[in-house]
Amino acid sequence: MFDSLSQRLNRVVKNLRGQGRITEENMQDTLREVRMALLEADVALPVVREFIEHIRQRAAGEEVFATLTPGQALIRIVRDELTRIMGEANSALDLRTTPPAVVLMAGLQGSGKTTTAAKLARRLKEQDRKSVLLVSADVYRPAAIEQLAVLGREIGVDVFPSHAGEKPTDIAGAALQHARTQFKDVLIVDTAGRLHVDAQMMEEIRALHAAVNPVETLFVVDSMMGQDAVNTARAFNEALPVTGVIVAKTDGDARGGVALSVRQVIGKPIKFLGVGEKTGALEPFFPDRVASRILGMGDVLGLIEDVEKSVDRDKAMEFADKLRKGKGFDLNDLREQMQQMRKMGGVAALVAKLPGMTELPRQAMEQTGDVQMKKMTAIIDSMTPQERRFPDLVKASRKRRIALGSGTEIQDVNRLLRQFDQMQKMMKKMGKKGGIAGLMRNMKRNPPPGMPF
């Protein structure tokens, strides 16, 4: 998400960086560019207007013109404003109540409520050590109840059985009773998708809300939605005391305007982002980090968290140890590193969080990164343990065998060996020249050719 907005804003920002002076005139141009970028990113028109107005005012004040680097100052203002409209700080779920705490999911058809309900259940269970009960009150869409039941089994969370013939309020009431007697911490109620203009259905969800009295009423919205997103959000917020928003399907190339607009329009915080199809793909929303990411400043904090979450600490220590001793970096280690990388969502996911990387075209990133990494892993997998430890063994006939075994070409095998050789040299240097810092300095001067990342 945000890639294309990010690219456009970066172009604007880049133009500014070079400018020693900001005149009334190029300010005007810049703001027009920013306005276009936001509109193309599906940010709601009223929000765009206000955004531009704020920037104009702050920029016109002493803030920009008085500084030595007005371009930088303006970028800071844009960043601040982006953060502000998205709600300053992360807002977590607030489940403080006499258990069971009830969470009600609401949204349009196809926004991603059921999947999100399962993701949330998994997160509460695994990270917050809560005992969770799921229930589906969607008696309309064929097999919606079955869908939640399957997801519940998958993540090991109990699902209260319901049937299409029952009344949603009855289902929710019975589930709440069950959650009480079973001493569940949290009950998540999934509901049918409904149009905000469907009076009858909106009445139903109001009744549902009254029946279970949730501490969190979460509005689930598709990140690909256009200008109508704010109308929908407003209508749901008026019908229900919405406490937070979850933006789903942000793993595509959606422009992310919803994320920028919804907080401003209904005044409720975005709590999570859905970032993939798997049940683990739910991330807390940090406005400041997202703002930095949009402006190509990277989300280093998020990157660190990703790494901590998925890297095997012991293996990493072992590897670091190996490096420090300056020996024994072999193909097994390379393979291990690549696997860790894949666990974190691949090169593309990591690179997206690095500063200045948003300008890389998506296609190029995918090609250099994940595809090639997969190929390299396949090649290493086709080697014998002996070959992995002593790559020098691999000569012509072995190369042929490895290429055949991994479904690649001999050239690919050669490339891997060459790259590995260079890496090994680098590792040795690192051992000598003051560790990572030295290596980074070195890389800046002449980046290693053909590194996959």
Binding site: L39, L45, G110, G112, H196, Q227, K249, G252, A254, R255
Partner: protein, 329 residues
Amino acid sequence: MFGLEKREQDSSSDVPEKKRGLVRSLREGLRRTRESLLGGLTSLIPGGRPIDSATLDTVEECLLVADVGMEATEAIIGRLRERHRQQRIDDGDALYAALREEMVALLAPVARPLVVPADRRAPFVLLMVGVNGAGKTTTIGKLARQFRAQGLSVVLAAGDTFRAAAVEQLRIWGERLDVPVIAQATGADAASVIYDALAAATARGADVLIADTAGRLHTRENLMEELKKIRRVLGKLDPEAPHETMIVLDATTGQNGLAQAEQFRKAVGVSGIALTKMDGTAKGGIVFAIARRLGIPLRYVGVGEQSDDLRVFDAGEFVDALLDRGAGR
């Protein structure tokens, strides 16, 4: 050109009666919130008053709010400005007329209804694709009912083997409509399910096979590869299959819709669009951007939850519904 399209459409199975209905449902949907696309303009441009550049700016914003997108909006507004300069638009009514004309001109070339040819020997294969939650399975249900009503025999293929209970959802549709559903378990290879389904449909001498697929974001390369495989495998049984690859597009989608259409077309050669969920307050303006950039035929518009709420797309009626000026011209 527009007239020509119109004639073509009339000669097809489409009846004028139905089109009237489309306007009505679309307008009803839009009126529910009293927020038609240019609703705000009525107060801004009272009939006879002369218009200026600021009025055109307002029109521009209205188009942007309808998700028409920068490129298509600029094209439309550019033409209006041109006409304004040439003194051919001098009051609000003329502006409406000109705007309508420009908008219809963008959509008319893509308003080409889906026709299942009568003289076919093998089943007509309809492959449905789209992102998650666009409404593929529901649209399939509606299409199946319509084909049945036209006296065609239908077979459904449960090609969404990924999402939990998707197979079940299609099966329920099959039961409701009394249409056979060819399915395997969740997790099965989608291409093989659909291949089997085509074999079964051929054996039964069915007229139409509608293949469901799992919703996928168009940026997921491996999933797009899976779609390509489905196409390849279908081609083994019938080199011409699928005869229609239809992308299901949620009308609430913003500018991302263009990327969706573009990527799906690149991967599997989309030949038609079904625009769903037009019964909310969304305007579906993204179809203008898609029509302008890609020119993919627009087949259907979904305006409600009932199965006959899937209407054949008509450019004039669609624009009228957006402008809320009715068909009485």
